[in-house]
Symmetry: D2
Subunit: 250 residues, 4 copies
């Protein structure tokens, strides 16, 4: 089975789902366990798979912006050290790809505070998150984050906007000291500007990563990477907020 | 501050910590908040950072085997869809890098069942996990997993051993159908054998990934990737266990 | 100017060349020096560039097969050490991309002996090479190279066919000892089979390379790699033919 | 045989060559053909390989600077379109890695004009080139190229110095219009500055490349990329010199 042939759908009695391999009668899957085999109208086999957060975002989400792919969101989340119960900042929300992973990780005991300047993006992202049952873990504020951050004592910040350095200035009041900040930017010019600002500000442990993901054709007789694929998404800048003291003049 | 200059240590009154920038008196940090600035004997500044799981594994763990780096463990965890409360299988435990990330993600409501054939590895890994306070979330069984898996109804399996195909045969009784299986192997020959077995067995949605992580020197005036670094760790094979019916002879 | 907007054309009086930026009257370029600026019908500027071998192959060649891109052909040629006057073997010719680079490098004092089983490919490749004025440096033999190689004392062999190990067996009579052999194959399975055969045969100095070329958008204000591009072409296997003596039984 | 065990040496009667596998008596190889098998003092086998230009640079050259590796020099040469008889500019010469490849390609009918500000580098590079018998194809000028270029009508320019934009200004008088310019720089900041200058100057067809070369362990039973290796050398910027006319004011 090819992953690109999987479909995410809501189970509604009487519905049919069209695929290039045949039609699925939704009634045929009702009451079936996850992992079960079902037959399409053509006799082709299909399997009932419980969607993971990655399935939801990659195959179920409506996209209105460039997205943060799992190769990047996974590394950002792991580097940040967040987990069950964490309270995190996100700006902006975009299509909600990263938000979904964050909301999954912080669980029902944590929360994601997401600032998004474009109302349309906020609306689509919330609808995407609702499909996953995660909307209650996310508060979306439709406004320019540069006007101020309402929250205090947050555990990490995830910045995916064109000028993250503007937000870096605002974090000291909102983030617990020692907390990680993860910045995602597409161009090296933005990396350079972010680094320059981090150097001047109350940040340490600065690192820059780029994840080049290669997917292989899963054919045991002719294993090889895909011929054409995504070759660039963006750079990840990591830093930690600290309390720097001013050097006194001698 | 250079991340490679950070140290993980246990706070004990009267201790001193030597670094190449000067000596830290542990008494100076007692009672200080995370993120605080302290001075070394030379006057050099240092900062108190709360260790993340990645910090613990990369800088605090004693290593006895090849390890699974965050670039790979993060993608494996995210693809698996596990979260707070998940019950997962791991084989083998090695130095415990992946185990630490898994135990962090499943939280105190989940559990990691880890099989490890080498007693020394199990002992070191458990000591590493204890340092993080995660040992109670992990059950380590010192034996060959090929003799059988005790658990049932697990949510995901993470296989990091030389012949993962031997374990793939055993998973149907232990893993919930639809659950993801993540295999990590260093050579393409192992990928080929894993794929060949997955094709014959009750698995679908098979994919192969390779993550090439590049770290950049975080210097805004001369941004460039590191000159010499890790160029290969291993390949990640993803699949999902399903219930396949046998085709009846026509 | 965007390289993807360049066109290769034969200068014929009275012709016009259509582009998405306007029409070029060929009469306007006759008599002009290389590098000159000309105007299209819309007033847009264009420049007369003397085509390089890469320009000819990438923009002028008719393609009938998968091709060997400059990123791979350049490394193969440099590793082979061939130069002006070299006599080299190629199998198969395909669309002639590699052949063109080889014929350019060996110059008018060298020669390329190319075996190609498919007559259509041979015909297209020769027409492509004629456009560059290189057809006289290449002898194309339309037949299965496995039936035997006519030439002797060649300086290097370039193999781009599905089962290069079959040709490796035939090289000792045709290649000067110490000469390099360059194999290009798309899958890891083919690399494994090639390596297994090289190990048994009269070859030493075996190496395997993969060249991952990233092209950046040449925008100084927003420098970043292209988003979608070629992520895999093939693997390059290098080896050298030697005279191995049989070990006498003790 | 492992390529890293090969040695380049001058044949002198009576000499011995020490290796980690045993001692080679040079008298044993005198009169032997290329590709022949010889025995070391331990009985281990060795083979006589005729050095390629890459062998000379990688294994024979004394290094005094960062070098341009074959993965980069090969692509630069192929993109430039130079060949037998070309007259090319290089600045600076460094250790002579690129110079050697250029001198090999232009043959005895072409020439390399190399500017190098550091006398020591010029001296070492010339000694390296002499070992290959290529010194006569290269004129080295020990002076700052920014003081002016003596040559006219050159076919291509290869720039490997910290501020290539300073040289870009000087090329119009020395390079034939339509000729390619190849710039090699280690940091993205230098790429950005080069692009900014190219945009303002008489250059078109601008492109930026990065070649990520992966070498695999050539073991058919366990094929995998090398674990630790060079992860970054530099970026290649390509452009072509043209005659731009000034836009007249309307």
């Amino acid at each position: 089975m090819d992953e690109r042939r999987s479909k995410i759908f809501r189970v509604r009695k009487g519905d049919t789902i069209g695929t290039d391999k045949g039609i699925l009668r939704v009634d045929d899957v009702i009451g079936k366990e996850w992992g079960s085999e079902v037959r399409l109208s053509t006799g082709a086999k299909a399997y009932l798979l419980k969607p993971t957060p990655v399935d939801f975002t990659m195959r179920g989400f409506r996209r209105v912006t460039q997205v943060i792919y799992p190769k990047d969101s996974s590394l950002m989340v792991t580097l940040s050290g967040i987990g069950y119960g964490s309270r995190v900042l996100e700006s902006g929300i975009g299509t909600g790809f990263l938000t979904a992973i964050l909301a999954h990780v912080v669980g029902d005991a944590g929360h994601v505070y997401a600032y998004e300047i474009r109302e349309e993006f906020a609306r689509v992202a919330l609808r995407n998150l609702s499909m996953m049952g995660l909307a209650e873990r996310v508060t979306v504020k439709v406004r320019d984050i540069k006007q101020g951050i309402d929250e205090e004592g947050l555990d990490a910040a995830f910045l995916d906007l064109p000028d993250p350095w503007e937000v870096l200035k605002l974090l000291p009041g909102s983030l617990k000291p020692s907390s990680p900040v993860l910045v995602f930017v597409p161009s090296v010019n933005q990396v350079i500007k972010t680094l320059a600002w981090l150097k001047k500000g109350p940040y340490v442990d600065v690192r820059v990563y780029e994840n080049i993901l290669r997917e292989y054709q899963p054919v045991p007789e002719a294993l090889r990477p895909q011929t054409i694929s995504v070759t660039h998404t963006g750079y990840i800048v990591f830093a930690r907020l600290v309390r720097k003291t001013e050097d006194l003049p001698t």
